[in-house]
C-alpha cells in the first residue's frame, strides 16, 4: 500500500479586526467579526482604542492574512496611512488592509490610492464584506 503524502489541508484565513483611535463604537466591527467567523475565518478581535503601533504589532504576532480596520471618529486620514506605513516599515506591506466606517467618498478614493484595498460604508452587506475579505486573503496566499 503506497502512502502518498496528502497536500497540506487548506487552513482557515486569519484576520485581525481592530478599531484604531478613540471612538468607542464597536458594534459594527463586532458584527463583521461574527460574519467572518461564520464564513470559517479565525478572527482576532483586538478591540477598541488601538494605536497603529499596537495594530501592526498584533498583525505580525498573530501572523494574519488580512487586517480589517473600523473607524467612526473621522480620524481615518491620519490613522490608516500610519498603519500602512508601519506595515511597510516592518516589511509586511503585502498584508492587505480593508476598512469600514464613516468615510467620505473623496477620502475613500485617496485611501485606496494610498493602499487600503477595500472600504465599506454604512449599508454595505455582510455578504459583500465576507466575499471581499476572502478574495483579498486568497490573493495573498
Amino acid at each position: 500500500m503506497p502512502a502518498p503524502r496528502k497536500a497540506a489541508p487548506a487552513h482557515p484565513i486569519r484576520v485581525l479586526i481592530a478599531k484604531p483611535g478613540l471612538d468607542g463604537h464597536d458594534r459594527g466591527a463586532k458584527v463583521v467579526a461574527r460574519a467572518l467567523r461564520d464564513a470559517g475565518m479565525e478572527v482576532i478581535y483586538a478591540g477598541l482604542r488601538q494605536t497603529p503601533e499596537e495594530i501592526v504589532r498584533a498583525a505580525l504576532e498573530e501572523d494574519v492574512d488580512l487586517i480589517g480596520l473600523s473607524i467612526l471618529s473621522g480620524a481615518h486620514m491620519a490613522l490608516f496611512p500610519r498603519v500602512l506605513a508601519l506595515l511597510k516599515q516592518q516589511k509586511a506591506g503585502n498584508v492587505p488592509v480593508f476598512a469600514g466606517g464613516i468615510i467620505p467618498d473623496e477620502d475613500a478614493q485617496r485611501l485606496k490610492k494610498a493602499g487600503v484595498r477595500a472600504i465599506f460604508g454604512p449599508g454595505a452587506s455582510l455578504e459583500e464584506i465576507v466575499a471581499t475579505a476572502q478574495k483579498l486573503a486568497r490573493r495573498r496566499a
Binding site: 489541508p9 482557515p12 499596537e54
Partner: protein
C-alpha cells in the same frame, strides 16, 4: 562553531529573536505545514524547558485580565513572557473569534512580551500538540515564561493537563452550587485554584468550599493545592497568585516530579504524533486506495463489521512497511 549555519533559516531567525519568523513558525505548526518539521527539529536542542503555566476556567471568569496582570508583574521584575491564548473553533463553520487580546493593553513596543491567539480547530491535529509546539518555539526564542490560556472544557481542558507544568484553575464566586465542585474534570487538574473577582460578594464562601470539598482529603503526597483570591479591578492578590505558581514550580524541581512529568508528557506526545499522522494517512487510504475502499463498502453493506475491517486495515499497513 559552524553548527548554526546548518540550521534552517527560519530556525536561525527564531533563535536570533526575529518575532516575524516566530509568528510564521507558529502558523506552520498550526496548519500542519511540513515546513514545521525542520524548524521544530532545529530548535528543540535549544529549548530550556521553561515553565508553562496553564490558566483554565469557564468563559468570563477573568483569565485574560489575570494574564494581563501577571504580564505586568513579571515584566516589572525583568522577566519576559509569552502568551498562547486558545479559544474554541466553531464546529459548524470552522471559524472562531479570538478575543483574548482585548485585555492585552498598552504594550505596543515591549519586545519582552509576545502574545499569540490560537483557535482550537476541532480535532484536526489536536490543540494540545499545536500548543505544546508553539510553547517550544517561544521557549527557543528566549521567553522566560509561557502562559497558556484555555477554556476549561472538553478537549482543551485535556490540552492544559498535558502541556502545562503548573495548572491554574480560575473560578469566580457563585459559579454554581457545591456539587459542581465535586464533578470530575476541571477541578481535579488544579495545582493552584484562583478565585477571581474577590471584589464580588461570596468570594470567601467560594474559597472555603474549594478548601473543604476539593482540596482537603485529596491524595497529595507532597504538593498541597493552593487557593488564592484575586481581583484584577483593584488589583489584588496577583503577587500571591504568582507566588503560588512559583512555589509549585519549585516543588516540581525539589521533588523530582518535573523530570517524571516530562518523561510522561513526551511519551504521550510522541505516541500522539504517530497516531495523528497514521490516522490521517489511513483515513486517506480508506477513501482512495482501490483495495481498501472495498473494505469500507463491505462495512457499509453490513457484510463486515468495523472491528474486523480495522484488523484487516492494520494487516494491510504492516504488509507494506
Amino acid at each position: 562553531m559552524s553548527e548554526p549555519a546548518r540550521l534552517p533559516a527560519a530556525a536561525r531567525a527564531i533563535l536570533r529573536g526575529d518575532r516575524r519568523a516566530l509568528a510564521r513558525a507558529i502558523t506552520a505548526v498550526e496548519n500542519g505545514d511540513p515546513a514545521a518539521d525542520a524548524i521544530l527539529g532545529a530548535i528543540y536542542p535549544r529549548t530550556r524547558g521553561v515553565p508553562i503555566v496553564g490558566l483554565a476556567g469557564p468563559l468570563g471568569v477573568g483569565k485574560s485580565s489575570l494574564i494581563n496582570a501577571l504580564i505586568s508583574l513579571l515584566r516589572a521584575s525583568g522577566r519576559t513572557v509569552a502568551v498562547v491564548a486558545v479559544d474554541p473553533s466553531s464546529p459548524f463553520s470552522g471559524g472562531s473569534v479570538l478575543g483574548d487580546r482585548i485585555r492585552f493593553e498598552g504594550r505596543a513596543t515591549d519586545t519582552g512580551v509576545f502574545f499569540r491567539s490560537m483557535a482550537s480547530r476541532g480535532a484536526v491535529g489536536g490543540v494540545a500538540a499545536a500548543t505544546l509546539e508553539a510553547a517550544r518555539l517561544l521557549d527557543a526564542a528566549g521567553f522566560d515564561i509561557v502562559l497558556v490560556e484555555t477554556v476549561g472544557s472538553g478537549q482543551v481542558d485535556v490540552a492544559i493537563r498535558e502541556i502545562a507544568t503548573t495548572r491554574v484553575v480560575v473560578l469566580v464566586p457563585h459559579l454554581g452550587d457545591e456539587v459542581q465542585t465535586l464533578k470530575a474534570g476541571l477541578f481535579e487538574i488544579a495545582d493552584v485554584f484562583c478565585v477571581n473577582k474577590t471584589d464580588l460578594p461570596g468570594a470567601d464562601i467560594a474559597q472555603r468550599n474549594l478548601r473543604d470539598l476539593v482540596v482537603q482529603g485529596r491524595k497529595t503526597e507532597e504538593w498541597a493545592t493552593r487557593i488564592v483570591g484575586t481581583s484584577t479591578t483593584q488589583p489584588n492578590g496577583i503577587d500571591a497568585l504568582w507566588e503560588a505558581i512559583e512555589a509549585h514550580e519549585r516543588y516540581l524541581d525539589a521533588s523530582g516530579e518535573r523530570a517524571r512529568n516530562e518523561r510522561q508528557r513526551l511519551s504521550t506526545e510522541i505516541v500522539g504524533l504517530v497516531r495523528d499522522r497514521v490516522g490521517r494517512e489511513l483515513a486517506h487510504e480508506l477513501e482512495h486506495d482501490p483495495e481498501l475502499r472495498g473494505l469500507l463498502d463491505q462495512v457499509i453493506a453490513r457484510s463486515l463489521d468495523p472491528r474486523a475491517a480495522a484488523r484487516r486495515l492494520r494487516l494491510a499497513v504492516r504488509r507494506t512497511e
